[in-house]
């Protein structure tokens, strides 16, 4: 029996001016899925992720969460966002708040927890990403890898049903990619549902349960990693050749 469906994306389209960035994209996410979205830059990967949690409003199509369409009023969007963790490429930590308060913020402002309780929960969450000794620091006092781990803790603290990660290691110094990837790997081992836009082919091959391949706003391929990396589709082989040429 298949696992429970968490998220269903139906016919999502988005244009920025003349440019069609997403063309009729549909797929579903089941509990425990670790989905890697691959594709050349400009394929619409990030826009797709941002449309899912409504940082960008799609032009058409809809998103079903637990079988119900997400409505557009601000209460519904707020509720939905509190169930969807988002990890940004550039961390986007709130710079005047200490690390622990960054993680506690959604608990206080969305769940209505008091600061004391929220800080306790946040500190525990930060311990799980190995940052117990940094909780009173400010974001600017942390390395990029540490900041991104705070970003992940912040996304997890609300116990989301699904976590969206937008190129979580692209802005990092290569020597710092490992510490962040290890945390993400652990999340997948814990059975968390995730969608990750990434250029880490190794992650897609070894950790992901599904690979979505996008190009020019189209979802071209949705398959398991084994099939993806064996694919003879020229668009996929070209992409993989280009990628390995860089490395």
């Amino acid at each position: 029996m298949k696992d429970k469906e968490i998220l269903r994306i139906e016919n999502l389209s988005k244009s920025f001016g003349e440019l069609k960035v997403l063309k009729d994209v549909s797929f579903e996410v089941r509990k425990g899925d670790v989905i890697a979205i691959l594709g050349p830059s400009g394929a619409g990967k990030t826009t797709l992720l941002r449309c899912i949690n409504r940082l960008v409003d799609p032009d058409s199509g809809q998103i079903l969460f637990g079988g119900n369409p997400v409505k557009s009023d601000r209460k519904s969007i707020r509720h939905f966002r509190s169930k969807v963790g988002f990890v940004f490429q550039r961390f986007n930590l709130v710079s005047h708040l200490r690390v622990v308060d960054n993680v506690a913020l959604p608990l206080v402002k969305v769940r209505g927890e008091n600061w004391r309780k929220a800080r306790e929960i946040a500190a525990k969450q930060l311990g799980q990403v190995g940052l117990s000794d940094k909780i009173t620091n400010y974001p600017s006092q942390l390395s990029g890898g540490q900041q991104q781990r705070v970003g992940i803790a912040r996304a997890l603290v609300m116990e989301p049903a699904i976590v969206l990660l937008d190129e979580p290691t692209s802005a990092l110094d290569p020597s710092l990619v490992g510490e962040v990837m290890r945390v993400i790997k652990r999340l997948s081992a814990e059975g968390r549902t995730m969608i990750i836009v990434t250029h880490e082919v190794g992650f897609a091959r070894n950790i992901a349960s599904r690979v979505l391949f996008m190009k020019d706003g189209l979802l071209i391929n949705d398959t398991i990693p084994e099939d993806f990396f064996e694919s003879e589709d020229s668009e996929i082989t070209d992409f993989l050749t280009d990628l390995s040429a860089i490395v």
């Binding site: 949690n53 940082l55 601000r74 969007i77 707020r78 509720h79 939905f80 966002r81 509190s82 969807v84 988002f86 940004f88 550039r90 961390f91 986007n92 930590l93 709130v94 710079s95 005047h96 913020l105 959604p106 402002k109 969305v110 400010y138 600017s140 006092q141 912040r154 609300m158």
Partner: protein
């Protein structure tokens, strides 16, 4: 150490320059400092008035500034235009003209106290500048942090109060202190409506005692003292509020 030496040298040079100038002027202008202390009460009164005027006007200017900045950064086109119009008017109008308009223009239709006419003019005028300072502060908050707030599920209002305003305020402190110093200096213009600020008092002392130069030297010293104190205070505040 070299800095201490260079400062000492500079100090001597400047002191020497002023001493020399003073001696030269003394040849043609008989300085008479003895009459000044008799009028210290008048100076003090003026000083208090200038400070009161500045503090109250600053309060209102900050209030107006907040409203202007909110209007100019709001999504409503009407509010945005209204804010822009306000800033356009007061930034293109000499303060002296604003004071004359308020006291002699507006004041000829309703009875308005000199002091409050001064407060009103200064507040309206400086409010436009403070508004621009706050607006720049709000716009300097990284958009990624606002997005992070949205992604967490925060409402617009919560994003403004938890993420934008605290940072915008910190960013605004240095230029705000600068504006406060300007406000104190600008307040000297209210002397044209015979509001008894320190500039007007100095002029009074000068005309009564004929020790004009002396009175104005004292006046200059008073302004330097107030504004430098404010700058120091500002630097202290800035250092305390800085985000590491």
């Amino acid at each position: 150490m070299t800095r201490a030496i260079s400062r000492t040298i500079l100090g001597f040079v400047v002191a020497g320059f002023f001493w020399f100038s003073y001696q030269s002027v003394s040849q043609v202008y008989p300085f008479n400092w003895k009459v000044i202390p008799r009028y210290y009460k008048l100076f003090l009164e003026g000083l208090v008035t200038t400070m009161e005027l500045s503090v109250i006007a600053l309060g209102f200017a900050v209030l107006i500034g907040v409203l202007v900045a909110l209007a100019r950064t709001s999504k409503s086109v009407l509010l945005k235009d209204a804010g822009t119009l306000y800033v356009w008017f007061f930034r293109n109008m000499p303060l002296l003209v604003v004071i004359l308009l308020v006291y002699y223009g507006f004041g000829s239709t309703v009875n308005i106290d000199r002091f409050w006419a001064g407060v009103l003019s200064l507040s309206l005028f400086e409010g436009a500048y403070v508004g621009e300072i706050f607006r720049a502060g709000i716009e300097a908050v990284p958009s990624g942090e606002i997005e992070a707030g949205e992604a967490m599920g925060l409402y617009r209002r919560q994003i403004m109060f938890s993420i934008v305003f605290p940072q915008a305020f910190r960013i605004s402190i240095p230029p705000l202190i600068g504006q406060l110093v300007s406000l104190v200096k600008d307040s000297s213009l209210v002397s044209v409506i015979a509001l008894g600020d320190i500039t007007m008092r100095a002029r009074q002392v000068g005309t009564q005692t004929l020790a004009v130069f002396e009175a104005y030297l004292i006046l200059a010293g008073c302004y330097l003292l107030i504004t430098s104190t404010l700058s120091l205070l500002g630097r202290f505040l800035e250092r305390r509020m800085v985000i590491p």
